[in-house]
């Protein structure tokens, strides 16, 4: 079966994810072998909300595959700002490009785009809903270090209510057997019930506030940014922010194979002294993003393999 668009992890099977990440590994090992895969092809970057990392990572991936791109990095000065609908913007983009990467603050924008577009639409994140390519590169990083997709204990930490990477990562972990997720957040930022209902019965999980109690037993800690705007009372924000700061001391008790991830950008959740520790994998995670996005673009442009 061919998948036409990548707008949600929920549409993917574990077989698909495994094949995709294996293809990313090939690209990382022999990038030169894939230098012409997107030759003559154009990627349209439609970023209705700025995201430096996601956009540059997709552009780097497209360039490494020999392709080109056009688009905008913010709706400022475009027809979108004049009130054009997303549907009309997609109609324009699919006549100019062979594949679309869409980042939007509106939830459901991915589905709208997929309904309209004749070329594949890849979600680069929509509202607080999902960020599927981020979850795929997160899993790739985990796989590279632990050598497996299953039997993993993972703490997802921080803003679990509004963080768009949280649902996608939870869905991708629930595709594989015997994973366990520790959702670690302040009460007001717990995972949305919609997300829990989706993974219910597919993956074991636990909700808690204190990260330190689980640190010694987990394989991966995935830290997300807690944003000030989420708290009506600034005092609450300060309290919460300080309770989830990772320092070398916090990591004193972790397993030998433990790794620390963060979708970035970070603003203080992980202290700079942690960067040089062997457990810190967030910069490598960003680099892995390019290979995973190369594999995604190659799949949707060429359908080089089947599941």
């Amino acid at each position: 079966m061919q998948i036409r668009h990548l707008i949600s992890i929920k549409h993917l099977s574990n077989k698909f994810v495994e094949k995709l990440l294996k293809s990313a590994r090939e690209m990382e090992a022999h990038p030169e072998a894939f230098a012409d895969r997107a030759k003559g092809k154009i990627l349209a970057d439609l970023f209705f909300e700025p995201s430096t990392r996601t956009r540059l990572s997709f552009e780097s991936a497209m360039l490494r595959l020999g392709g080109n791109m056009l688009g905008f990095s913010s709706p400022k000065g475009t027809s979108v700002e004049k009130g054009e609908s997303l549907a009309d913007t997609i109609r324009m983009a699919h006549s100019y490009a062979d594949i679309i990467v869409l980042r939007h603050y509106i939830e459901g924008a991915g589905r709208v785009a997929a309904e309209i577009s004749n070329v594949p639409v890849i979600s680069g994140g929509t509202g607080s809903q999902e960020h599927p390519t981020q979850a795929l590169l997160d899993l790739y990083t985990i796989w590279k270090h632990h050598g497996r997709f299953s039997n993993l204990k993972i703490a997802i930490v921080g803003d679990l209510r509004y963080g768009r990477t949280v649902p996608s990562l939870s869905y991708v972990l629930s595709l594989f057997p015997n994973n366990k997720i520790y959702f670690c957040s302040p009460k007001q930022l717990r995972v949305r019930r919609e997300v829990l209902s989706e993974i219910e019965g597919k993956v074991e999980y636990e909700e808690l506030e204190d990260l330190e109690e689980v640190l010694p037993k987990i394989d991966v800690a995935y830290i997300t940014r807690v944003q000030k705007e989420r708290f009506p009372d600034p005092q609450d924000y300060l309290k919460v922010r300080d309770s989830y700061v990772i320092t070398p001391k916090t990591l004193g008790n972790v397993k030998e194979s433990f790794i620390l991830l963060h979708p970035l950008p970070r603003v203080g959740e992980i202290s700079y002294e942690v960067d040089k520790l062997p457990q810190a994998k967030y910069f490598e995670q960003a680099k892995n993003g390019v290979y995973v996005r190369m594999a995604i673009l190659d799949y949707f442009l060429n359908y080089p393999w089947e599941v």
């Binding site: 009130g83 609908s85 997303l86 549907a87 603050y105 509106i106 939830e107 459901g108 924008a109 589905r111 709208v112 309904e115 509202g127 809903q129 949305r192 019930r193 919609e194 209902s197």
Partner: protein, 162 residues
């Protein structure tokens, strides 16, 4: 008094139209609101509120007879949302030609509005809303665009405007 006798006593037969029976007691007025039937409706409407019923768990029911009325699929879906379990009969020439139980629809298209202000369906896009049924009791629907849940309180407020 049986269901049959009570109906005969209180609500007269209609020649053509629909009979909605076994409505949860007291909810028939909401049904009229949802169907947009008010004093301007040109034909006979008969209503019985809280008459004895053996088939409803409450022991009571409402019965509604609307002459010269056909229900559209959209109206049936709306009724399925607010009075699941009620019976819907089509009457032609005093006879029941079709009888059906109203059920919660597994998919609701275009009737409800998503509660999430940041949902694509609340922007000017060429799409209509779509919800799927997650749970019957309590009623939970999921928006197929933004994936947020709608609860019973919100749905009834949307349907009845209060």
């Amino acid at each position: 008094m049986t269901d049959k006798q009570s109906k005969q006593l209180i609500v007269a037969k209609i020649k053509d139209g629909v009979v909605i029976d076994r409505i949860p007691p007291g909810r028939s007025l909401k049904v009229l609101t949802v169907l947009g039937i008010d004093e301007t409706y040109p034909a006979q409407v008969s209503l019985a509120i809280k008459v004895p019923s053996q088939k409803r768990p409450e022991g009571l029911k409402d019965v509604l007879k609307i002459a010269n009325k056909e229900l559209t699929q959209e109206e049936l879906d709306k009724l399925g949302l607010i009075i699941p379990g009620a019976a819907y009969n089509i009457i032609q020439d005093y006879k029941v030609v079709k009888k059906e139980e109203l059920r919660l629809p597994s998919r609701v298209q275009g009737i409800l509005k998503c509660q999430n202000p940041n949902c694509a369906t609340n922007f000017r896009e060429p799409i209509s809303t779509e919800f799927s049924l997650i749970s019957e009791s309590p009623l939970v629907l999921r928006c197929e665009y933004c994936e947020r849940f709608l609860g019973e309180d919100y749905v009834s407020q949307l349907l009845y405007g209060r």
